[in-house]
Amino acid sequence: MQRPDTDSFHAKRGRPMNETFHEFCGRVRIFSDFSEPELDELLRITNRVRIKKGQLLCKEGGDGDSMFVIREGVVRVVGKTAMGGIVPLARLSEGHVVGEMALIDESPRSATLEAESDVVVYTIRRSDFQVLKEELNPVAFKLIRALGREACERLRDANVQIQHYLHNPAELFVPDVLSGMEPPKETKKLTQTFLRFFMKN
């Protein structure tokens, strides 16, 4: 869910005035290899929705039936802490794709999305995607493939992040927790076992 701000989208700045849906999609990674006619098909099942600052796009644990592509504004991904508090997990801006699991999976939303500013999003509903899929429409094939690649990339990023924490436990601990424990190799092994345990429970 958390995306580092390295989206290829951001590399290409300078949004033209009155950019069309097609021009916009050309700058969104998952749609970047869609042809004009394919984007026409996609537009057929896309809705444009305005969301006021502070409103929720979806709620953690709620039913997910749409994928969102942020056209304008900033969306905050928030999670609940064990104590019932709210913590921001990520901020998503123009060009980010979020909630795409809803297109192929009926499991509940894994995080809450809140509009940090007034936001415009494109939404694609699972039921509409299903229709394209049943028609064996090439756009459905292209989209499922793009979603697969996107999921792979995000999974690779997430695994890198987990490995980073496992190998740099000091970033998560205050120094005195680890001090006085010798030898260092044993300590590292113990902290890694602990972190794995901690992430699971």
Binding site: M1, Q2, G79, T81, A82, M83, G85, V87, P88, L89, M101, I104, D105, S107, S110, A111, K133, L136, P138, A140, F141, I144, R145, L147, G148, R149, A151, C152, E153, R154, L155, R156, A158, N159, Q161, I162, Q163, Y165, H167, L172, F173, V174, D176, V177, L190, T191, T193, F194, L195, R196, F197, F198, M199, K200
Partner: protein
């Protein structure tokens, strides 16, 4: 007309819970493309950093997933067994391997190459669509699982409870490990128990299908085999369920 070989592959695929909704004729399309590959214990199937490509169904035997450690040696990430699929991330995105997979016993795989996968997809077969959808779903589920791990860490840190709460848990954990040690148990020596728990009663059916493939599959070609010594330590491995269901 389906060949005997395709039928054997199909009968094995049928024992995957995820294929239960697929028509047997559709599974024959996939069965046709699968290539039998034998492996030995310690044999490298693919290595971290290799160019991406195939995914593999495990017919029988065990496969260990390893990650190189910066200080040398390998960390064991997972142990997989008959009825599981691995390598599907590179199959879908074509990027390089993020981990090493090696035989933890001798065994047999059915390999689906990227070329075969892409060809099925390019023909716009509805089966190919559903298979891609199923792979994507599995990868998204793994992603959700990984994100859950990260957010648990990040939430703790961001909530400013990094010091007190994590330190407290860590000390409890350390004490628990010390008592385990006092009892004379070396956790590294505890063999991981592989759950038999296939939800449906596929156990015997899968075994028979696997044996049928084993009887007919050719011996491994006498080529140079790359091996890896990952040690006997299997403690701490995640057990994976059918594709991404952990």
């Amino acid at each position: 007309m389906a060949t005997e070989r395709e039928l054997r592959h199909r009968d094995f695929l049928k024992t995957f819970a995820v294929f239960k909704d697929f028509h047997p004729n559709d599974l024959l399309i996939l069965a046709h493309h699968l290539v039998e590959r034998r492996f030995e214990r310690n044999q490298v199937i693919f290595q971290e950093g290799d160019a991406g490509g195939s995914a593999y169904f495990i017919v029988f035997g065990k496969v260990v997933v390893l990650k190189k450690l910066p200080e040398g040696g390998y960390e064991h990430l997972a142990l997989m067994q008959s009825g599981q699929l691995f390598g599907q991330v590179s199959l879908v995105d074509g990027q390089e391997r993020s981990a090493t997979c090696a035989g933890a016993s001798r065994g047999l795989l059915l390999e689906l190459t990227k070329e075969a996968f892409d060809a099925m997809f390019d023909q716009k077969l509805s089966f190919a669509f559903r298979f891609q959808e199923y792979l994507t779903k599995g990868i998204m589920r793994q992603l959700r699982h990984a994100d859950g791990k990260i957010s648990r860490l990040v939430k703790t840190v961001k909530a400013g409870r990094k010091n007190a709460e994590v330190a407290d848990l860590f000390h409890q954990f350390k004490d628990a490990m010390a008592s385990v040690h006092e009892m004379g148990i070396d956790l590294d020596e505890v063999d991981y128990v592989i759950p038999e728990g296939q939800k449906r009663d596929y156990g015997n059916q899968r075994k028979q299908a696997a044996q049928a493939i084993d009887r007919q599959a050719p011996a491994a070609p006498a080529s140079t085999v790359q091996t890896i010594d990952f040690g006997p330590d299997f403690a701490g491995l995640d057990e994976l369920g059918d594709l991404g269901e952990r």
